[in-house]
């Protein structure tokens, strides 16, 4: 059954779109990630214009992170003060991101930006995850356990210190604002939530307790993804509500199955699988950039 997308102005098979939402939802439930970094490339492979893929994924992330943040909130695992400060940075970041997105779109370079950005992003994240999971798996096998040392880093030398009770931290507001800003730019440029950047940054840079990191990052992502959605709607007219609706429904159902599947697999194996998946998507996009195009010409409606 074909369905016509009013904003993308093309017709798609709604079951395929539902399936894509479901598959990404499954993976995000399984690995505990937002899945935006998989959904945007997937939509592009299906033929959705990159600008519509990025902007529509932002609305999908709004929905999935709302569900995630609510679940974490029930477990009291959200630091609202830390999250709020990151949101402030994130909103400025998404303004900057959407502004840059518009310039590149008019210059005809949005495909390069999205593909190139994803190659770097997925390559880095996938490489780090692969490295870590392989090391943990081999370390387990040889019986070595690593001990983490907790020491002060340069972040503690910055001014404007504030106390964060839930995080049990007394640090400057500058790092959370900067991290929030960076994730905001990333979110609106690439159509990702940015959890895979936020979570490591909160654990390793801010040294927040692991149990509240997930909830706080989801809380921040809800607002930044919502802001990106609205800004893309106003600036680029590229949010397709019909596409978003189908993806959200598929994603919500898929995520439930993903959570159940995750219970049957071990954490390290999961992370290895995830790393391979991330690298595969990155490799596919990289191939698209370096392989000689079958037709070097492309046609776009409108003037640059």
């Amino acid at each position: 059954m074909e369905i016509y997308l009013p904003i993308a102005e093309m017709s798609v098979h709604w079951l395929v779109v539902l399936g894509m939402g479901g598959a990404v939802g499954f993976l995000s439930g399984m690995f505990g990630v937002g899945g935006g970094f998989l959904l945007t490339p997937l939509l592009m492979f299906y033929g959705i214009p990159p600008s519509v893929a990025v902007a529509t994924t932002a609305s999908h992330i709004t929905a999935s992170s709302t569900a995630g943040a609510l679940a974490q909130w029930r477990h009291r695992a959200v630091d609202f003060k830390m999250g709020g400060i990151m949101i402030a940075g994130g909103l400025v970041g998404s303004f900057a991101g959407v502004w840059l997105f518009g310039i590149l779109r008019r210059a005809g370079q949005i495909e390069l930006l999205v593909s190139g950005g994803y190659v770097i992003l997925l390559g880095t994240v996938g490489g780090l995850m692969l490295n870590e999971s392989v090391r943990t798996l081999t370390a387990e096998r040889s019986g070595i356990t690593t001990r983490k040392t907790r020491h002060h880093n340069w972040i503690h030398g910055l001014p404007l210190k504030v106390r964060f009770r839930e995080s049990r931290l007394f640090i400057s507001v500058i790092p959370p604002v900067v991290i929030g800003f960076f994730v905001g730019v990333l979110s609106s440029l690439m159509g990702v939530g940015g959890g895979f950047v936020l979570v490591p940054a909160m654990i390793y840079l801010l040294r927040m307790p692991t149990k509240i990191v997930m909830g706080t990052s989801l809380f921040q992502i809800v607002f930044v993804a919502a802001a990106s959605t609205i800004l893309h709607s106003v600036n680029d007219f590229t949010v397709d509500i019909v596409l978003a609706f189908i993806l959200i429904i598929g994603g919500a159902v898929g995520a439930q199955f993903g959570v159940r599947a995750a219970a049957r697999l071990r954490g390290e194996q999961l992370r290895l699988l995830m790393a391979i998946l991330v690298l595969a998507v990155g490799a596919r996009l990289f191939y698209g950039l370096v392989a000689p195009p079958s037709d070097p010409f492309s046609v776009a409606v409108g003037m640059p």
Binding site: Y4, A67, S233, V234, I241, Q256, F297
Partner: protein, 253 residues
């Protein structure tokens, strides 16, 4: 006596100049195409008849059917290899290019009329030209123009169908115009030309409208006319669905 003479003269005149009085009547199978949620493309039929057809004419009449979509600006870009990566260059801008172009005729165009005549009526795709101030000479722009036609032909938006006009009787003709799913909204024009001996004897033009309808139209207008409300509405929908899924599945678990 005098009137009878006049009648005979008139009859003789009519017989001697066969083209005179020949006229066209044409119509469309539908004059509005509605894009609905399950729209996957459609066919329209352009049909017509030659009135007062002169049986004595030595050559057969030729029909050319031209359906043109709304004029838009298009940018054609070419990928070039920079440091191992294929990048889009600045490209060539073309102004007033038809978004949809369908042409059908009874014979190859060069047998129907001269290039100059065809160009005067905007018949044949080779009459597309890039914008003058895109700072490229026609020679450089030429492959870009060909790429545009090639792309649009692949998408089914450009179509030159020689011998696509079918005669049902010596006077009655029709042609089928495939309209793909990717057509843009706007006013289209279906023109029918009657050629005889390399010149246009009669022409008729009928407008055709392509429009989104129902929910699709409302969503499109909402997104373009009130983008801020549309964005907020989308976010509300997303958060509600997110909340609903967490609520629903928590009770299930």
């Amino acid at each position: 006596m005098k009137t009878r003479f006049a009648l005979v003269i008139a009859a003789l005149l009519a017989a001697c100049s066969p083209a005179q009085g020949e006229d066209l009547v044409s119509g469309l199978s539908q004059d509005v195409i509605q894009i609905t949620s399950n729209y996957t493309g459609t066919d329209i039929v352009v049909f017509g008849a030659i009135e007062n057809r002169s049986v004595l004419a030595p050559n057969p009449a030729d029909i050319v059917v031209l359906v043109r979509g709304p004029d838009v600006d298009m940018t054609v870009r070419k990928k070039e290899r920079v440091a191992g990566i294929w990048l889009n260059n600045h490209g060539v801008v073309m102004e007033g290019v038809p978004a949809f172009y369908f042409l059908a005729s009874t014979r190859p165009l060069n047998e129907i009329a001269s290039k100059a005549t065809l160009a005067r009526y905007g018949i044949a795709l080779e009459n597309l030209e890039p914008r003058a101030d895109s700072a490229r000479t026609a020679a450089i722009a030429e492959p870009y123009v060909r790429a545009l036609v090639r792309h649009k032909t692949l998408e089914g938006l450009y179509n030159e169908n020689i011998a696509g006009v079918e005669f049902l009787s010596p006077a009655l003709f029709r042609t089928r115009v495939p309209v793909p799913a990717s057509v843009v909204r706007g006013q289209y024009n279906a023109q029918v030309f009657l050629f005889r001996d390399g010149a246009v004897v009669s022409a008729q033009s009928t407008p055709l409208f392509v429009d989104q309808t129902g929910l699709e139209r409302r969503l499109f207008n909402f997104a373009h006319l009130q983008p801020l409300s549309y964005g907020i509405f989308t976010v509300l929908m997303a958060t509600l669905l997110g909340w609903a899924s967490s609520f629903f599945f928590r009770r299930n678990a």
